[in-house]
């Protein structure tokens, strides 16, 4: 098997490992935290609370 063929298989393997890792971490996170907490981000929070609008 040529070097480039090995590199190609290596690319597939690394891609597969990273995808599996992300899926694992995703499931772990979704199991550990409630949906309300994960989706609790609000637009403009900093602007509204810490940087009160003044001219």
């Amino acid at each position: 098997m040529s070097t480039w063929a090995l590199i190609s298989y290596g690319c597939w393997a690394i891609s597969g490992i990273l995808v599996l890792w992300m899926l694992y971490d995703w499931i772990k996170t979704d199991t550990k935290y409630s949906e309300a907490q994960l989706t609790s981000s609000r637009e403009g929070e900093i602007e509204a609370i810490s940087e009160k609008h003044k001219l």
Partner: protein
């Protein structure tokens, strides 16, 4: 004028939000990182449409278009500091239907640009393999690796993602500067032969209409600089960092575009310049220097990777914002409690990008990206006029106020109309198909999806009532 959105003020203290860790350097890296690949490939097709001189004219005219974009964007975003960038602007200034369309322009423009970048990087690596004697090697594993590694990086945190982008973008930019000084630009005739390459007989081979036709590829010199605004919610000081990073990025790109045109126009005949996929790399090959060839090869690869990286970041923020406002299911608005990234949106868009790298070619992907981008810029010219009318200077705090209003807005609109006409000349059927797509999804949003949107909650900026309302 001290108003706080009641919905926000009553928020629980354990909210998981995006992390505010970025500064002007990362903003520069995001904007220039997305765009710089356009100097390595793309802009040169304008020479095919109108000759080398047309490529120079569109460099300046499209540069003017993007300078207007950068100024207008800096003013509005320094005020509307939210993820989603122009989507959040449209939501507050124009209305929900425009905002939905703008978000789709953003997601399409960045996803298709990411696809183009991955194809470019994958093809380059495959070319190296083929040149070294390997047989049966396809670009598929390299395309997939490029996208998956960058998605993983984006998943793990925005600061590291954009720090990596800063390094690889700076290296790619440096390769252009090194090439420029290596060919002794101060001494025309020694290596550079602009006088021979560009003559009165071939400067504009198709006449002035060639300049108009060249607009659609001239966009590549700067396509994506407006992507800096997607990071608005992750910047420590949006009012300062966003205008500074965006304008510094625009200046960098103007310099890079000018250097690129000068070197390529002086080394490559327009017939070749207009069709090659790698103008800077080919210019390095013409010099006969192995070091420059090596440098520009890696400059091209790094610029493609940096662009794909920034595109993943921006497309995910736009998608995330749609979920947060219920324009799409709220499920997409989840933020990772540890990495503080919109992880579901990042991963959700990955298979879509991978599917497109397999089913589309480079030209199709580039055209769809440019089409969405130009529709988006057209919106920006209207948006700034409405913004200034509803909230005149002095009525709300602005981090930056762009000069000569409304001249940049009208100039931007005129240049966008010319560009859309140029796209119609070259890719009329794609333009019609894409506009039809946006009309259909707009109908879906208006008649079905909008009922799920929290209509009052989506307006989050603590601004006074607009003038005239």
């Amino acid at each position: 004028m001290n108003t706080v959105n009641p919905a926000v003020a009553s928020a629980p203290s354990e909210r998981v939000s995006l992390l505010r860790v970025l500064g002007p350097v990362q903003i520069w890296a995001l904007g220039v990182g997305i765009v710089l690949v356009g100097e390595f490939t793309g802009w040169n097709f304008s020479a095919d449409k109108g000759g080398t001189l047309a490529a120079l004219v569109v460099l300046w005219l499209v540069g003017l278009l993007y300078t207007c974009v950068a100024m207008i964007d800096s003013e509005v975003t320094s005020t509307v500091a939210a993820a989603g960038g122009q989507y959040a602007q449209a939501k507050h200034i124009v209305g929900p239907l425009m905002a939905f369309n703008v978000a789709l322009y953003l997601v399409f423009a960045y996803t298709m640009l990411e696809v183009s970048d991955a194809i470019l990087a994958g093809d380059l690596i495959t070319q190296v393999a083929t040149d070294s004697g390997a047989t049966g090697i396809t670009h598929n594993p390299f395309l997939v690796l490029c996208i998956v590694v960058l998605v993983w990086l984006n998943y793990r945190g925005v600061l590291m993602t954009l720090n990596v982008n800063f390094i690889i973008t700076a290296l790619a930019f440096l390769s252009i500067v090194v090439l420029f000084f290596s060919v002794q630009p101060w001494s025309q005739g020694t290596i550079l032969k602009l006088g021979e390459m560009l003559t009165p007989s071939n400067a504009l081979p198709y006449g002035w209409i060639g300049i108009v036709a060249g607009f659609q590829f001239g966009i590549w010199y700067y396509l994506g600089i407006e992507g800096t605004t997607q990071a608005a919610e992750e910047v420590r000081s949006p009012a300062r960092s966003l205008p500074f990073g965006t304008m510094a990025g625009m200046m960098t790109l103007l310099v890079a575009a000018a250097l690129t045109w000068y070197v390529c126009a002086s080394l490559l005949p327009w017939q070749h310049l207009g069709i090659t996929f790698f103008p800077l790399y080919d210019a390095a090959v013409v010099t006969g220097s192995g070091s420059l060839k090596f440098l520009l090869f890696w400059g091209t690869v790094l610029s493609a990777v940096a662009s794909a990286n920034g595109c993943i970041n921006d497309a995910a923020r736009a998608w995330f914002s749609l979920g947060r406002d219920r324009y799409l299911p709220t499920w997409f608005s989840a933020v990772h409690p540890k990495y503080r990234t919109p992880y579901r949106s990042i991963v959700f868009l990955m298979p879509i990008a991978v599917a497109f790298v397999f089913i589309s070619d480079l030209n199709q992907a580039i055209t769809f990206s440019i089409l969405s981008g130009v529709l988006h810029y057209t919106f920006m010219s209207i948006n700034i006029v409405m913004f200034r009318n509803k909230w005149p200077v002095g009525s709300i705090r602005r981090g930056y106020t762009h000069p000569f209003h409304p001249v940049p807005a009208f100039l931007l609109l005129a240049l966008c109309v010319i560009t859309i006409f140029a796209i119609f000349l070259g890719y009329g059927s794609q333009l019609v198909a894409m506009v039809a797509f946006y009309v259909i999804v707009s109908l879906w949003f208006h008649f079905y999806r909008y009922r799920f949107v929290g209509r009052a909650a989506q307006f989050t900026m603590p601004w006074p009532r607009p003038k005239g309302y």
